[in-house]
Amino acid sequence: MEWTDEGIILGVRRHGESSAIVELLTRSHGRHLGLVRGGAGSKMRPLLQPGNSVQAIWRARLDEQLGYYLMEGTLMRAATLLGSSHAVYGITHLASLARLLPERDPHEDIYETLERILDDFDDVGEAALHVIRFELAMLTELGFGLDLENCAATGVTSDLIYVSPKSGNAVSRTAGEPYRDRLMRLPSFLRESEDGQNSISDRDLQDGFDLTGRFLLRNVLEPRGQGHSDAREGFINAVTRHLARISSS
């Protein structure tokens, strides 16, 4: 068995003294592990960092085996992002999320979204929006997608400002008014009609993280006996601090 694919490194675990088991999110083969001979050595370690993009050749005698990777770096993002707290927390958090995907199951949309996010990680505000959208995409990919385009009560597609914490469906201003204390806020950047706007408030970001955080926890993490990663909290704190610094200066 042999294939060649592009991938993003999600994690690396040392195997023996000189090798490493590398976890990739590949474009066409999904989340896929493989052994990299010499992966624990000083030559390979700069390449084998989460967030880096690689061109990988996977070989094994049988399809169900772990197999071996041969890798060449195509975009070494990790080294340039190590100095930013939001970036290192973000990469760690995104890798934890991608690890929720079943192995060897292609998720091309998730791959492309992750690649786009990592390319835009320099801009803190953009990175935060991307991470929230990635969390939404992960919910969809895992079968728990939120319907944020139609009001759950009336079916209207405009003026959607709430989300039902039970169903995960959007609720319009009029329909949600009597229950506003119990509904979650739908941040403006997630509303279809307001996509692409430039200024995002702290409140919007917090609402976005609350929204995805709640449904990830309830539908995906808790059933697996997990909670949110420390990296998620670190990322949110780093973004909040950065935005506060900008607004005070």
Binding site: M76, A78, T80, L82, Y89, T92
Partner: protein, 200 residues
């Protein structure tokens, strides 16, 4: 395969094979060498191992390993108490000591944060570090952690926790190693070095 030696020797070989750098074949050679040099090497080695088992302790201040507690570095009056160098492992501490890179004291975390390996903040000695950082004598914390995503996530995590302590938090520079030729460096290191260039 039928055993060619008694169970005691096989056990010795199996245990030696668990050491880093030794496989079954080299463990067999090491065992044979020890057996041949029983008086000159095997007995002193066994004695040294027993002494190590009996006397080695983890320092209650910095988590270094030593035969005294607090360790030699923590009790050394020539060490600068205002600087704490944070390392992930005792091997890193030894590397810095070999390089005579600092006269400060150390703090050994035990590992770095790694979600893949299930290492969380509770598995590291971060609480003890934060407590030490609040000591009025301490003015700088140097984060000498690996230039990896896990290492730097740990560094940022610690920096966040030390915000309320009245200390300067610094980290090691990332860039071109001594003897490194630009042509042979990976792109990531080159970009990092370029970003963190300093005035000449």
């Amino acid at each position: 395969m039928a055993s060619t030696a008694g169970p005691e020797i096989e056990r010795l070989i199996q245990l030696l094979a668990r050491l880093p750098g030794l496989g079954p074949r080299s463990a067999r050679r090491a065992a044979l060498h020890l057996i041949k040099k029983r008086e000159a090497l095997m007995t002193p080695l066994a004695g040294a191992l027993q002494v190590a088992i009996d006397r080695i302790q983890v320092c209650k201040v910095c988590s270094n390993i030593d035969t005294q507690n607090p360790c030699t570095i923590c009790t050394d009056p020539r060490r600068d108490p205002s600087t704490i160098v944070v390392v992930a492992d005792v091997a890193d501490l030894w590397a810095l000591e070999r390089a005579h890179a600092t006269t400060g004291k150390y703090h050994v975390l035990g590992a770095t944060l790694s979600p893949l390996d299930g290492v969380g903040p509770q598995d590291l000695t971060i609480d003890a570090l934060v407590s030490r950082a609040h000591d009025s004598e301490v003015s700088e914390i140097i984060l000498a952690l690996n230039a990896t995503v896990d290492g730097q996530t740990t560094a940022h995590y610690i920096t966040d926790l030390l915000q309320e302590a009245n200390v300067k938090v610094t980290r090691l520079a990332h860039g071109v190693p001594v003897g490194g030729e630009l042509d042979y460096l990976d792109e990531g290191t080159l970009s990092a070095a370029m970003r963190q260039r300093t005035l000449f």
